[in-house]
């Protein structure tokens, strides 16, 4: 009994950031490589030490080639709460498995990791390195170094986590309907997917207009999405970007995308828009008369998420994933507010705090049912629809919180 338990067990050393995002990332990647998530450890919570059973070393290696949440992986030979327990646990580990590492000319070292200085080490492991995770990706793809950024460019680590939640793999087609400066596409392209995107903002897609990096006035000719991919040697994965309204997509009927990975506008730093019937042309567009942006309708956030889910249900391949950020006013958040669709199954929901009363949640969904036209209207019948309305007032609530705080601070400084 003890023997079979100790076979194929690995210890993962996890990075201590984006805590909530780690478990869905590891689960998604294991599923991508043909493994299944099983474990003896019940609570992961804040611990950096995870024990997993992985059916083969190949799967473990593939996992480490992709993960940004795990730092290293080790074959687990024994563990225990005391040196005596550890010793007897090690004695039970099959000797045949140790033999490849016990040549007289091979060396080993013992490293001790602790978590929370108040604890003495809970586990010691004989360390045989298998692989280290992909955390150096975060540094090489850091937004600071990227040529073309916008106001809301995503932190590099999170963009890789999103691609992993999306189970992006080589030769996939990944689409971003709110592509902005293309930051999310870079992570997918890095994992070998071909990428495309749309955005309603003509200037952003073309790389024109005010630059978002401090001290820069205009975006140069090397600032656009294609140039960003070129900077990282990923230009061959660039398919196309289009100027388009995500609420009025221009794709012919069919399923094309293996993953849709996006960060829709929340209406705070970038405005939420869609094309409307008013003829008023916004300032700054005079330079590009052909951009034809008769835009001024504010896009209700709940409509936007509904459109996004419908779009995903229609255009994703079966088994394809939608990964997106949902802004939330924390005091009123309930799980029922997470948008729902009959064709999409909720896989994970991870929170990242933005401020004292707002956060955003990374939602991952998987298409499990073929889209039929009548699914478009099912939301009207569902009582899930009503809580969506809360998203519409996200902008008001965000700003009301800020203005109240400013008023309070001014009052305090006057006293």
């Amino acid at each position: 009994m003890a023997l079979s338990c100790s076979r194929n067990r690995y210890l993962l050393l996890m990075a201590q950031e984006h805590l909530e995002f780690r478990l869905p990332e590891i689960k998604s990647l294991l599923s991508l490589f043909g493994g299944q998530f099983t474990s003896n450890q019940e609570i992961y919570g804040k611990s950096p030490f995870w024990i997993l059973s992985i059916p083969s070393e190949d799967i473990a290696r593939n996992l480490m080639k992709r993960t940004v949440c795990a730092k290293s992986i080790f074959e687990l030979w024994g563990h225990g709460k005391s040196p005596e327990e550890l010793y007897s646990s090690l004695k039970n580990y099959p000797v045949e498995k140790m033999v490849p590492f016990l040549h007289s000319d091979s060396t080993y070292k013992i490293k001790i990791h602790t978590f929370n200085k108040t604890l003495t080490q809970e586990e010691k492991v004989k360390r045989i390195d298998i692989a280290d995770g992909q955390r150096e990706l975060i540094e090489s793809y850091s937004v600071k170094k990227r040529h073309f950024i916008g106001n809301t460019s995503m932190d590099a680590g999170l963009s890789f986590i999103m691609a992993n939640h999306g189970k992006v793999k080589e030769n996939d087609i990944v689409f971003d309907p709110f592509v902005g400066t293309g930051g999310l596409l870079i992570a997918s392209a890095h994992f070998g997917a071909y990428v495309c995107g749309t955005d309603i903002d003509y200037n952003t897609v073309h790389g024109l207009g005010k630059a978002s990096r401090k001290n820069q006035k205009w975006r140069g000719p090397d600032e656009n999405i294609r140039a960003n991919l070129r900077q990282y040697g990923l230009e061959k994965y660039y398919l196309d970007v289009l100027v388009s309204d995500a609420s009025k997509p221009s794709w012919r009927k069919g399923t094309y995308f293996d993953a849709i990975i996006t960060d829709p506008p929340y209406g705070i730093r970038e405005s939420t828009r869609r094309t409307g019937s008013q003829k008023e042309i916004p300032k700054g567009i005079e330079k590009c008369p052909e951009s034809h942006v008769p835009v001024s309708l504010s896009y209700h956030l709940s409509d936007m998420f509904f459109d996004l889910l419908n779009f995903a249900a229609e255009t994703l391949v079966l088994g394809g994933r939608l990964v997106y950020w949902l802004p939330v006013y924390t005091p009123e958040y309930t799980e029922e507010m997470v948008p729902w669709h009959p064709c999409l199954q909720l896989i994970s929901n991870c929170e990242q705090k933005l401020s004292s009363h707002t956060s955003r949640r990374l939602i991952t969904m998987e298409k499990v049912k073929t889209f039929e036209n009548r699914d478009q209207y099912s939301h009207l019948l569902s009582d899930h629809f009503l809580p969506y309305q809360g998203h519409n007032s996200f902008r008001e609530k965000y700003f009301s919180g800020v203005t109240k705080r400013i008023a309070k601070e001014e009052k305090c400084s006057q006293e």
Binding site: E170, L239, E290
Partner: protein
Amino acid sequence: MKLLTHNLLSSHVRGVGPRGFPLRLQATEVRINPVEFNPEFVARMIPKVEWAALLEAADTLHLVEVPKEPIEGYEHDEKFLKKMHHVLLEVDVLEGTLQCPESGRLFPISRGIPNMLLSDEETET
């Protein structure tokens, strides 16, 4: 704009529905962009292609050596895949227009980027 993308685009002008495909292509500037050949990716795209629309667009651009249809066993036919790779991914329309076949509405392409925006009156509800 690559021909793979053109093959997936449709007009969403109100009332047009499936007759909005394919968009009629007019190009004033085209560039051939070498892209690294990836046979697995090209093979994955073949089932998604609407062949008549592709041939029409290729014809407009005066492309030669365009396969007329997918051949049996195409997944392993490197010659076939290389030709498809060139047509789908290496031909880039930089300037031109896409026209809705039903309504005649024009969508401009500039710097390789199509602009599909319409006003509310023009689009489906």
